[in-house]
């Protein structure tokens, strides 16, 4: 049953804005801005950028013969990637936890597009933070390096750190999108990465090398291997990103 009421003479004009889909580049920039607009996001980003400098300083001060630049970066880059995973998880699961996903999908209802923008934005953010890690690690190492300090493989290690950092930030975003609850996603991720992978590495070391993303990043940055770590990281990236999109597209927003 419907009833039509008298219409007034004036009708709000249809605005040109209504026909302009927000461009993907704008959405990507906004996702970076969102991640940096909260205290948790800023704190994680700042910690990821600043902590390596202190750690390298300590290593240089405490060791008579500190490890090579590549090994140092492998160690610190892998540790920082744990924070980058959290940045990714909070960017997606945090939206569900706080309910802001409603605002996001009301403005851009094509959820796959939103997640594509999130993944791209977080990859950029992860790469940028990793680049800062490289700069601070090498910067402090340069200042404290003695005559015997080895820079062998430092360039390749830097590239690997930036690439793996970007990939693992997106892995976190995929996990967060699939689980949709920040505490559960963070707890589950760290349980798998820290406990599950440790158990696997001890029980089946060969399997662990083919599954553990943090070991893969370490090996890649240190220069021990290339193809296997890249394949492991790519598999994690693909599975988590696709799972995140698949679940997000189906999940009702209550």
């Amino acid at each position: 049953m419907t009833a039509v009421l008298d219409r007034p003479a004036t009708v709000l004009p249809t605005r040109p804005l209504a026909d302009r889909r927000p461009p993907l580049a704008r959405l990507i920039g906004l996702e970076v801005r969102k991640s940096l607009s909260t205290r948790s996001g800023l704190a994680l980003t700042a910690a990821a950028a600043v902590l390596p400098a202190g750690a390298v300083g300590l290593m240089m001060a405490l060791h008579d013969s500190p490890p090579t630049a590549a090994t140092m970066l492998a160690l610190l880059g892998t540790l920082v990637s744990m924070l980058l995973i959290a940045v990714g998880v909070l960017a997606t699961a945090g939206e569900w936890t706080h309910g802001t996903v409603q605002t996001t999908f009301l403005a851009v209802p094509r959820r796959g597009r939103v997640l594509a923008a999130k993944y791209a934005g977080l990859a950029l953010l992860g790469a940028a933070i990793s680049a800062v890690v490289v700069a601070s690690t090498y910067g402090v190492a340069t200042i404290g390096a003695g005559a015997g300090f080895s820079w062998t493989g430092a360039g390749a290690a830097a590239v690997a750190t930036v690439g793996a950092g970007a990939a693992l930030t997106v892995v976190g975003a995929g996990i967060g999108a699939a689980i949709g609850n920040a505490p559960a996603a963070l707890t589950g991720t760290y349980l798998v990465l820290l406990v599950g992978m440790t158990v696997l590495d001890n029980a089946r070391p060969t399997w662990g090398k083919h599954v553990d993303p943090l070991s893969a990043m370490f090996d890649l940055v240190e220069g021990d291997a290339t193809a296997r770590p890249i394949a492991v990281l790519a598999a994690w990236l693909l599975v988590t990103a696709v799972a995140g999109i698949a679940v997000t597209r189906r999940r009702a927003i209550s």
Binding site: M1, T2, A3, V4, L5, D6, R7, P8, T10, V11, L12, P13, T14, R15, L17, A18, D19, R20, R21, P22, R26, L27, L30, R33, K34, S37, T38, R39, S40, G94, H98, G99, T100, V101, Q102, T103, F105, L106, A107, V108, P109, R110, A252, I253, S254
Partner: protein, 288 residues
């Protein structure tokens, strides 16, 4: 314009919204009423693409929500004032939304002033009261000055001044040709604000029409200098009269009938009007 056709939502063993249809024309404020769990919020979420319908469809300005290139420029929404990140400032929240839609950032400060949050815009939303969050949500809905507004319980937490402001805002939108869908439990507020009502009960539309027609009662209410004598004349004419204090309610009669009987009997009338029901009476009658 909002067009809802056969909208249905079923979960495993229950039907939350059952074949709901209505059309909301530009220039109207429509009250969307129903008791808790009647399906109002689910219907609004299906209209806005947040919940996929089991059957039927909803269109806003001729398109499904998911087909709108820039939906927030077509329809402003306030579905849950709590759907904001508590760690962001109100200004940042609006600025992110404005950038998403493509609205100039200067509009953010204008709207914060408009909704009375000019001094609170740089504070974190976690420290906002419910009323302040509602105002922020209304500001967000108005960012693109859209022709359609969909508001779920927007008056919750607003003080009397805020409620009056919102009422004037909604009327002004409708007067400019906007379409407003307003869900609220504040029946008195709805009665003073809307042009028409859609009432939903147990997932189905139980009433849909202009508020005046829905509230119009069957009969007239009349007051006279000598109410007792008038009641006698009316009963003598075969009408059913009930007295509530000094006022008489004459069931099934028109104002003309009662006026003629009063004139014939020489009764002095002090009031004669249709016996309207209150919205509260109508609501409980329809949703009981």
């Amino acid at each position: 314009m909002i067009t809802v056709t056969g909208l249905t939502k079923r979960y495993a063993d229950s039907t939350v919204v059952d074949d709901v249809s209505f059309t909301l024309e530009p220039g109207t404020v429509t009250g969307f009423l129903g008791p808790n769990g009647a399906g109002k919020t689910t219907t609004m979420r299906m209209i806005t693409g947040l919940v996929p319908p089991t059957a039927g469809e909803a269109k806003v300005c001729g398109r499904r929500w998911t087909d709108l290139p820039n939906p927030a420029a077509v329809a402003g929404t306030l579905l849950d004032a709590g759907a904001v990140h508590p760690g962001r400032t109100g200004r940042t929240h609006l600025a992110i939304m404005a950038a998403t839609i493509g609205v100039p950032s200067r509009r953010v400060d204008d709207l914060l002033d408009t909704v009375g949050l000019g001094n609170a815009g740089r504070r974190r939303i976690g420290g906002y009261s419910l009323g302040m969050r509602q105002r922020l949500g209304i500001a967000a809905a108005l960012l693109a000055d859209p022709p359609v507004l969909i508001l779920d319980e927007p008056a919750n937490g607003l003080d009397p001044e805020g409620i009056r402001w919102m009422r004037e805002l909604l009327r002004e939108r409708a007067d400019r040709g906007g379409t407003v869908l307003l869900s609220s439990h504040l029946l008195g507020e709805v009665e003073h604000t809307v042009d028409r009502l859609v009432v939903i009960g147990a997932g189905r539309v139980v009433a849909d029409g202009p508020i005046g027609a829905l509230l119009a009662g069957d009969g007239v209410r009349v007051r006279a200098v000598d109410a007792g004598a008038l009641a006698g004349s009316l009963r003598a004419a075969g009408l059913t009269v009930s007295a509530e204090g000094p006022a008489l309610t004459v069931a099934g009669a028109t104002a003309e009938q009662v006026g003629r009987i009063a004139a014939a009997g020489g009764h002095v009338l002090t009031d004669l009007r249709p016996a309207d029901r209150g919205l509260e009476d109508l609501f409980f009658q329809l949703t009981a």
